[in-house]
């Protein structure tokens, strides 16, 4: 089976590709460039096209498939009405599938399932990454607040941290919130 993965996010495309290579006799093509899309489609002649839901090229691609209905290998959106839950899951995960006419649903379903899992895994990874970035930024703020306290009050780093922590406990706030207040106040007072 020839599978085309269309995704402007090269990182996500490679995560899906990696999931699909485990399946038997699949040849996988990754397309990330919008401009060459239709020419590549014509060259590859895929049996299945997997595309991220929000891809800006979807209308262009659907038009190409509409025209392809007159050709030898008509392609249509994969909507197996007997299995609406699976389609809903793929839309929720953010992936649409188009398949060549006549391909049996039981050959398509495992693919879609892998794809859904991989899409979900990718968005989890992104969430985790965003969270990690947030944590790094928080640590930076706390470090700046400690430095301000150490400089202005001549205390040690552990003492500065204890100050921040006890203020946070008294105010039922997170340490980073107190640290932000310290940094902001310092900036307002003309500090750097």
């Amino acid at each position: 089976m020839r599978i085309a993965i269309v995704d402007e996010s090269a990182a996500r495309a490679s995560i899906i590709e990696e999931g699909l290579v485990e399946l038997h006799d699949c040849e996988i093509f990754v397309l990330t460039d919008r401009r060459a899309l239709l020419a590549e489609m014509a060259r590859i002649e895929p049996d299945i096209v997997l595309i991220d839901l929000g891809n800006p090229s979807r209308d262009v691609l659907e038009e190409y498939f509409a025209v392809s209905r007159a050709l030898a290998r008509p392609i249509a959106m994969f909507v197996d009405e007997s299995d609406d839950d699976a389609i809903a899951a793929s839309i929720d995960a953010g992936v649409s599938a188009y398949v060549v006419d006549g391909l049996a649903a039981n050959r398509i379903r495992p693919l879609i399932d892998v794809c859904v899992r991989r899409f979900n895994a990718f968005s989890r990874l992104q969430d985790e990454l965003a969270e990690a970035r947030g944590k790094l930024a928080e640590r930076d703020t706390v470090d700046r607040a400690k430095r301000i306290l150490m400089d202005s009050r001549g205390i040690s780093e552990p003492e500065a941290y204890r100050e921040l922590r006890s203020k946070a406990m008294q105010a039922s706030k997170r340490i980073v919130e107190i640290a932000e207040a310290v940094v902001t106040a310092h900036e307002l007072m003309g500090g750097k």
């Binding site: 839901l53 929000g54 891809n55 800006p56 090229s57 979807r58 209308d59 262009v60 659907e62 038009e63 498939f65 509409a66 249509a76 959106m77 909507v79 009405e81 389609i87 809903a88 839309i91 929720d92 649409s96």
Partner: protein, 402 residues
């Protein structure tokens, strides 16, 4: 406690009414809280609507009909109880081509312009290639209006030129690279192309059909029944937003709201052009006023005339080259839901026409129409070639067209 509704949209000026209904508090007055889902492809807007990510969507009217009829995917019945606006699109040509077919920067006579374009198309064909036009979707009024105009001017849209699909935000790029020679697209994307100096606006779709139906608010038929109460509240809120939208006092403020990053993420000055019916046709040119370029409120513009759905169905038959089918014709007509629109506004004093269908293109001068409540005078709804569409006679209408 407000009821929540999620609305899908593409970043175009004619997504204005639900957005402004939320922003100006009209939705809240009707007990609604609206949230929005922006996408860049109609296929995505449609998927989200069909699989429940959104309750309602800003949608191409012909796409709502094609989806109901199962063109290109299994049939799913959609309902359109509110027309989001009439026209608001423009035909933009690459600068060189525009200079040849319309030496003066003006919105000229559509028939004259079409004749000049037909000569260009023929010359290009003789050289072994075709003039290429971009439209936003196969099932769009942009496609149908462009084809209607070309065909009436002696250009066969599928033989003498090439018409391709292109997403609105990429139209300016495609004109710049020469991938297309012209486009029919909604605002602000013609204006974007003009300001980049890659194209000139030569025609407004309002010049092709003075009152051409454009986007609709679409819902799944089952969702409309489940959320009938909220849908009617939304219709009332959008009518209030429309009254605010057409008042010149509010133009600049509304352009600023629509330009925001979470809505159109665009330039308020460009968005203002469509809102105020004042288009800049070529880069650096003076604005040209073309009244009713975009027609969002007056003359009960949001009323879903069943005859509009039937005209769109006639064009779907024409360009998909399929035969008239009485059952399909009925299903297509049923997509537009004047009964819901009436129920929402009955007793509010807002304008409600007496009939659900009319002869489209039949009003050549001011005409007071029979009303259920309120009063309107239609100023004219003609097609540029003088023909009119009788919804009871779709087959004969198609037989008369080129």
């Amino acid at each position: 406690m407000s009821e929540q509704l999620t609305i899908g949209f593409l970043p175009l000026v004619d997504a204005c009414l639900p957005i402004l209904a939320q922003e100006h508090g009209f939705a809240e007055e009707e007990g609604l809280e609206l949230s929005f889902l922006r996408d860049v492809s109609w296929a995505t807007v449609l998927d989200r609507l069909l699989y429940g990510h959104s309750d309602a969507a800003h949608l191409l009217a012909p796409l709502a009909i094609a989806t109901t009829l199962g063109r290109g995917r299994p049939a799913q019945p959609l309902s359109a109880p509110f027309v989001l606006g009439l026209n608001g699109n423009a035909v933009t040509l690459r600068t060189g081509l525009a200079m040849r077919v319309a030496p003066e920067a003006a919105l000229g006579d559509p028939a004259e312009l079409g004749k000049a374009l037909a000569l260009e198309a023929r010359a290009r064909k003789a050289e072994g290639s075709l003039l290429r036009f971009g439209v936003v979707h196969r099932y769009s009024s942009h496609n149908y209006m462009l084809r209607y105009w070309l065909a009436a001017c002696g250009v066969r849209p599928d033989e003498d030129v090439e018409i391709v699909t292109i997403a609105p935000p990429f139209v300016a790029d495609a004109l710049a690279s020469g991938e297309i020679d012209g486009a029919c697209v909604g605002e602000p994307y013609s204006s974007v192309a003009v300001d980049r100096g890659v194209g000139r606006i030569v025609l407004a779709t309002a010049q092709i059909w003075r009152r051409g139906v454009e986007k609709v608010l679409a819902l799944r038929e089952s969702v409309l029944e489940e959320k009938r109460h909220q849908t009617e509240a939304l219709i009332r809120a959008m009518r209030k937003a429309g009254r605010h939208f057409v008042d010149p006092e509010n133009w600049e403020e509304n352009a600023r709201i629509l330009a925001r990053a979470d809505y159109l993420d665009g330039d308020p000055a460009q968005i203002l052009r469509a809102i105020s019916d004042r288009l800049v046709l070529e880069r650096g040119g003076a604005p040209v006023t073309y009244s009713d370029f975009m027609f969002q409120h007056n003359e009960a513009a949001n009323f879903p005339w069943v005859s509009q759905a039937q005209w769109l169905y006639s064009q779907l038959l024409r360009w998909d080259r399929i035969a008239f089918d009485p059952h399909e014709a009925e299903a297509a007509a049923r997509v537009f839901r004047p009964d819901v629109y009436r129920a929402a506004l009955r007793g509010t004093g807002d304008d409600l026409p007496g009939a659900n269908a009319k002869v489209e293109g039949g009003v050549t001068g001011p005409l007071a129409v029979g009303m259920e409540q309120g009063a309107i005078t239609l100023k004219g709804d003609t097609f540029f070639d003088g023909s009119s569409f009788d919804p009871d006679d779709i087959r004969q209408y198609l037989a008369r067209l080129p």
